[in-house]
């Protein structure tokens, strides 16, 4: 089992349509408050007389809530949109028009949310298509309709602005707001927090600090424009770093923070974009912020896709490895049958003897026989347990384990093979070796594979001998299996670890390939060489427990 499932079950659109009233009331209140607050914030920055805001995140808030929690939040959204319309246009707009405005906003958002569900959008932003979908749906449905309404509302009251110009500005403000706020809401409210392997809290805190500092300096108005303008791009590397190294929630929050500071600064007439006049400053800053959000989301998605691919690869390796173990067990079955038949023979013999002793009334002897029978049963159970542990079920979870505990089960399992092939095992395992953090079943598989290859190479040879030793080199532990067989044909050495490179009768040629992948997934290396005195030597390393950051 992969430790990080690729997808969690997402909130079902229909299931959330019938929530408890308290929950609904809570979410509704949250939506109204947030919608109203961001509208208030957006309307603070209307640098011209027509009241066109620089940014309008309200639509994005609505889209996020309706997408996440379903149609049941539409009434709250209507209230919020109505409040905003009433508050900012007041008596200027006749009631039918006001109702039309609210209705169009609702329709745009509902349509957008429906489309996101329809196209299988995931609020985790782990795929490029999620980023594309949000932009497309946000741009076309939600912002498109909202902007039409907004532009119409503004254009109606003024003669100096053409509808198309106004629509363009409103649409951009809507889409910009949506790009800034929707990913934040969706990732915090709709996606689990997944920490990438490289993430640390220190790194996250440093990123937040650096971004805040850069933005404040740029938009403080203290720097001259020629310096402030290029410096405003300093947020890009920070966002890129966050996208690659931090949970997606951190990235989206940083983008929102950067956008908020930039827009607030520009709105207050500070920073490099302030002096250009409404149209240009809005266009210019929004272009930069749009690119910033796009960069952050695309990089996050690419990282997500890479991680998903890696998880799939890990899962495949694990499945392949398990298949390899099962086939190994199949090949060992003759020897294992013997291992089981011996204790079973002991059991049946004691049982038959007990029956006869009982018939004769020799109770003392019967008692002894039953004690022996019990002990024999445990021995048989132990053999079965070893086979099971090797074959299946056991999770590939990594634990800290002493090398001797890794070797013992494999050697126990292979003991009949050593006897059958008449091969002497010479092992040298120093006591008190440091522990390694590994998935025991996988390392056991590697050992099993190497030892069985050696046994096969040695079968039928006199004086056959396998040396097995463990030593430490620096921060690594190395396990070596050496035989005194014919060695690896020189032409085979290069392709030895390639899949399907077999020269054994009936072999699949996957053993060594899987083994190398397993060792490498532990951060170690598996190498092969011929020994000058004759025979082959396989050696693999494993990092010691303390030498590696926990993952």
């Amino acid at each position: 089992m992969a430790t990080a499932p690729i997808r969690l079950s997402e909130r079902s659109f229909s299931a959330s349509a019938r929530p408890a009233w308290l929950w609904l009331a809570g979410r509704s209140a949250m939506l109204v408050a947030l919608y109203y607050a961001v509208a208030l914030w957006g309307l603070v920055f209307t640098p011209d007389a027509h009241g066109i805001p620089l940014v309008w995140p309200a639509t994005g808030v609505g889209l996020a809530f309706v997408y996440l929690y379903g149609w049941s939040l539409l009434p709250a959204l209507g209230i919020a949109a109505g409040l905003v319309t009433w508050r900012f246009t007041g008596t200027m707009m006749p009631l039918p028009e006001a109702i039309g405005t609210v209705g169009a906003t609702l329709a745009g958002i509902a349509l957008g949310a429906r489309a996101l569900h329809h196209f299988g959008f995931s609020p985790r932003f782990e795929r490029l298509r999620d980023v594309g979908l949000l932009l497309l749906v946000g741009g076309l449905a939600a912002s498109g309709l909202a902007a039409t309404v907004g532009a119409w509302g503004i254009a109606v009251g003024t003669e100096t602005l053409r509808f198309s110009d106004t629509w363009w500005l409103c649409w951009m403000a809507d889409l910009m707001g949506l790009m800034l706020i929707t990913p934040v809401l969706m990732t915090w409210l709709g996606a689990p927090m997944v920490r990438p392997a490289e993430h640390t809290y220190t790194k996250g805190a440093m990123l937040i600090g650096a971004l805040g500092l850069v933005s404040l300096v740029v938009y403080s108005g203290q720097l001259s424009a020629p310096l402030a303008m290029p410096l405003s791009y300093a947020v890009f590397p920070l966002i890129m770093l966050a996208a690659l190294r931090c949970p997606v929630q951190v990235t989206t929050t940083l983008m929102l923070a950067a956008g908020t500071i930039a827009l607030s600064g520009t709105g207050w007439g500070l920073g490099p974009f302030a002096d250009m006049g409404l149209g240009k400053s809005l266009l210019s800053l929004n272009a930069q912020l749009g690119l910033l959000v796009l960069t952050g989301l695309v990089l996050s998605a690419l990282r997500g896709e890479r991680e998903a691919a890696e998880a799939r690869a890990r899962q495949h390796l694990e499945e392949l490895a398990r298949a390899g173990r099962l086939s190994t067990l199949g090949e060992l079955s003759a020897g294992l049958a013997h291992e089981l038949n011996q204790p079973l023979c002991v059991l049946t013999s004691y049982a038959q003897a007990s029956k006869r002793l009982l018939e004769r009334g020799q109770l003392d002897a019967l008692r002894d026989a039953l004690i022996q029978l019990d002990a024999g049963a445990h021995r048989a159970a132990e053999t079965v347990r070893q086979m099971r542990a090797f074959a299946a079920g056991q999770s590939p979870e990594r634990v800290a384990i002493a090398p001797t505990d890794l070797l013992k089960p494999v050697l126990d399992l292979l003991q009949p093979e050593f006897r059958r092939c008449k091969v002497e095992l010479d092992r040298s395992i120093p006591p008190r070796l440091p522990r390694v953090r590994v998935a025991p079943v996988q390392v056991e598989q590697v050992l099993m594979n190497l030892l069985r290859n050696a046994l096969e190479a040695l079968e039928g040879r006199s004086g056959a001998r396998i040396q097995l030793w463990v030593d430490r080199t620096g921060r690594e532990l190395a396990i070596t299996v050496r035989d005194n067989g014919p060695g690896i044909p020189p032409g085979r050495l290069a392709s030895l670890f390639d899949p399907f490179a077999t020269w054994k009768e009936g072999g699949m040629g996957l053993g060594l390939s899987i083994s190398r992948s397993l060792v490498e997934s532990h951060g170690g290396q598996l190498t092969a060489a011929n020994v000058p005195e004759g025979g082959a030597e396989f050696r693999f390393t494993l990092p010691m427990e303390d030498a590696r950051a926990r993952t």
Partner: protein
């Protein structure tokens, strides 16, 4: 003649648990059991003169069971062998039986099969030994014949009538008849054909059975 000895079951298995379990099982049937861990101790410990049988694991650490069976035979130990195995190895079972193994039992044994096998083996051994004792008696009688009687016997086995024998040996027919009746008496033969059977079973005359 020495007093009849108690038959021994010689159990050979390298697994100590199997040895003690199977020994106990056999002892509950009042068999006398001696257990050995390897082939060398069997070769050193088994006395051909004592009746008994062998219960032999096919795979032993120092020698496989079939080789041990051959080795014992070459040393004059002709006891019946019951093989036991944990491997279910059919080719080996076939070879073992071909080489005279009495039985080939797979571990774990079904109730009674081992005991039946051992009992059967001991019976066969007893029969073989009884047959051998009879043979020894006939040989002994053969040795008690005078040279003349022996000559007459040889001629008889050649299928010659009394007259021809008398002429060959240059004696009277009457003398041949006397030798012949003594010979029958000494050998314990009830008829001429019985006499022929007894004589031909003896070592000295065995070659006459083969066609020329």
């Amino acid at each position: 003649m020495p007093a009849p000895k108690v038959p021994q079951v010689h159990l050979v298995d390298d697994d100590p648990d199997v040895r003690s379990a199977v020994s106990l099982l056999l002892k509950t049937e009042d068999f006398r059991v001696t257990a050995y861990a390897d082939a060398q101790s069997v070769l050193a410990g088994v006395d051909a003169g004592t009746p008994g049988c062998l219960v032999l694991d096919v795979r032993l650490p120092d020698m496989d069971g079939l080789t041990l069976q051959r080795e014992l035979k070459s040393r004059g130990v002709e006891m019946p062998v019951v093989f036991i195995t944990g491997h279910g190895d059919i080719p080996m079972a076939v070879r073992a039986v071909a080489e005279g193994a009495l039985d080939f039992l797979e571990k774990p044994f079904h109730d009674g099969t081992l005991i039946e096998g051992v009992r059967h083996a001991l019976e066969l051994d007893a029969q073989r030994r009884a047959g051998a004792a009879e043979m020894a008696q006939v040989e002994e009688r053969l040795q008690s014949l005078t040279p003349r009687e022996r000559q007459v016997l040889e001629k008889l086995l050649d299928g010659k009538p009394n007259k021809l024998i008398a002429r060959d040996l240059d004696v009277s027919v009457r003398t041949v008849e006397i030798h012949r009746s003594n010979l029958m008496l000494k050998m314990g033969a009830k008829s001429p054909s019985h006499l022929a059977r007894l004589a031909l079973a003896c070592h000295d005359f065995r070659d006459r059975l083969t066609p020329e």
